[in-house]
Symmetry: C2
């Protein structure tokens, strides 16, 4: 699991910071999460192959999270994309993108599918045999979802030496990897635990931006490997959190602690702060394993 931060600052793009966008690589998928202005350039800078992006997840329709989407959709067309693109985001996103395509008289040549979200309860938005993606309803000034990306448990690992000892035919291997016991010709039952190791532990990633402090999401993100949680403000401005629908570093850390996550990544910093290390310092008064997102930073798990 690999997370590339394309942008992690709030509000306006500047010469040295970008608004929210990130790329999650999980089981050969490349998921794009949020798409602030300039995302297509940051994708190039970080050498993410455009054609591998098949799903884009947009948390909410504030500009710093989606103004780069129309440019990316258009660039895909200019680059002669032919594979489908799925955009998951709040209701209204289809109208915003298609209106601009219509005005520029340039429809996409590739299949463009919108999956508009209106549900205020968590729901599955993507699923295949290896990965499932769910919304995490957040509390912001407009309708907003985080996204929970979870690997599904894989097969158990065959212990080849053991299997060979019992002279088991290969046709049974697939069933054994799925957890089946084996009955030998003489009627002896060999338990699956003797023939396999458990599957690799699954990894999970929860993206939570933008949101005010709210504990309702904790059951959903319980025990995730990594939680990205917005921390727009330091304690010195915590009085702004409720009004703006944002969280402080300490609030993000409190969620991380209560949800017992493996690791917390902070981001979505207000551009008023020059030293983002202060976010880590404040968060670590509550929760130990804190990382600081920054544009271009890569996290691997």
């Amino acid at each position: 699991m690999k997370l590339t931060i394309l942008g992690c600052y709030s509000a306006t793009p500047r010469t040295f910071t970008n608004p929210t966008s990130q790329v999650l690589e999980m089981n050969n998928h490349i998921f794009l999460i949020d798409c602030g202005e300039g995302t297509q350039v940051e994708l190039r800078r970080n050498k993410i192959k455009f054609s591998r992006i098949k799903h884009i997840f947009i948390s909410h329709l504030h500009g710093d999270h989606f103004f780069g989407l129309i440019g990316l959709v258009s660039t895909f067309r200019l680059l002669s994309r032919d594979i489908p693109l799925h955009i998951h985001g709040p209701k209204g996103i289809k109208e915003a993108i298609t209106l601009q395509l219509k005005l520029s008289n340039s429809w996409t040549d590739y299949p463009l599918h919108f999956h508009e979200l209106t549900n205020t309860e968590s729901e599955i938005v993507f699923e295949d045999e290896k990965v499932v993606v769910r919304t995490i309803p957040l509390q912001h000034r407009v309708y907003c979802n985080g996204f929970l990306f979870q690997e599904k448990p894989g097969d158990r690992t065959l212990l080849i030496d053991k299997v060979s000892d019992y002279d088991i035919d290969k046709v049974y291997y697939r069933a054994i990897k799925k957890g089946k016991d084996v009955v030998l010709d003489n009627g002896t039952v060999i338990s699956n635990e003797e023939l396999t190791d458990p599957p690799k532990p699954v990894k999970s990633y929860a993206f939570c931006s933008d949101t005010k402090y709210n504990e309702e999401k904790i059951p959903l993100i319980k025990d995730v490997t990594v939680l990205y949680h917005e921390s727009t403000f330091l304690e010195s401005h915590k009085h702004l959190c409720a009004k703006t629908g944002h969280s402080s570093a300490i609030e993000a850390a409190t969620i991380a602690k209560k949800a017992n996550v493996g690791s917390l990544i902070l981001g979505h910093y207000s551009t008023r702060y020059e030293n983002i290390e202060l976010f880590r310092e404040e968060a670590q008064t509550v929760f130990d394993d804190v990382e600081i997102a920054d544009d271009g930073k890569v996290f691997e798990y």
Copy 2:
């Protein structure tokens, strides 16, 4: 008159080139012309003060000329702008911008005026006592206008020594600067030419992007100080011009020559070319005074 090129490449923004946007400073106005994705960051990089931009002119609704507009409009709001902003562009631009503001639930706090263009004949889109701006109808794949920025002739320059010689009262100075003759108390007429020098020569700037080769605009841009004309293709790809509604370097130079302009600036290069100097070389086979636009380049006249 000062022209700052924020971006001058066609199609898609890349890590090292920007789509079309430029800033023209003329008689204390700061006019923003086109607004591709990333324009607000380039404005910062070039230290253009946001609050001095009061008029934005959009040539047409292809993404590489206007996808940065919504971000700029939003950033103005976040920066607590209170002075009015005027946006001049093709019909549809108001709907595109206001829909996105509506979706993000963030109307501007400053007055935002749209001046939508539909006329296929040249028309005045802005005028004050010192400057007039007219559309230049262009021929592209969608409705498209260039813009002609012209200084108005200023007052004649008073020759103070001469005026003093005749002991003319100061109350007449304003009339003399406007070109009036003076009648002395004894009835003698002093011709204005004796008391003044002519006004400073006026400057003018014509922005023509995007367009296929078309001579209809020549009377409009006749004798301009500077012509910016798109040259998307070199001769090696001139067969693409008609189909895409673009011009070659030689076509741009031919327009410059026939319009007898002072200087030609080329831009809107296809991103397929690595060496943009070739555009100058080809254009100079037709017209001598050719400059090559590039992102961040400044031209002063």
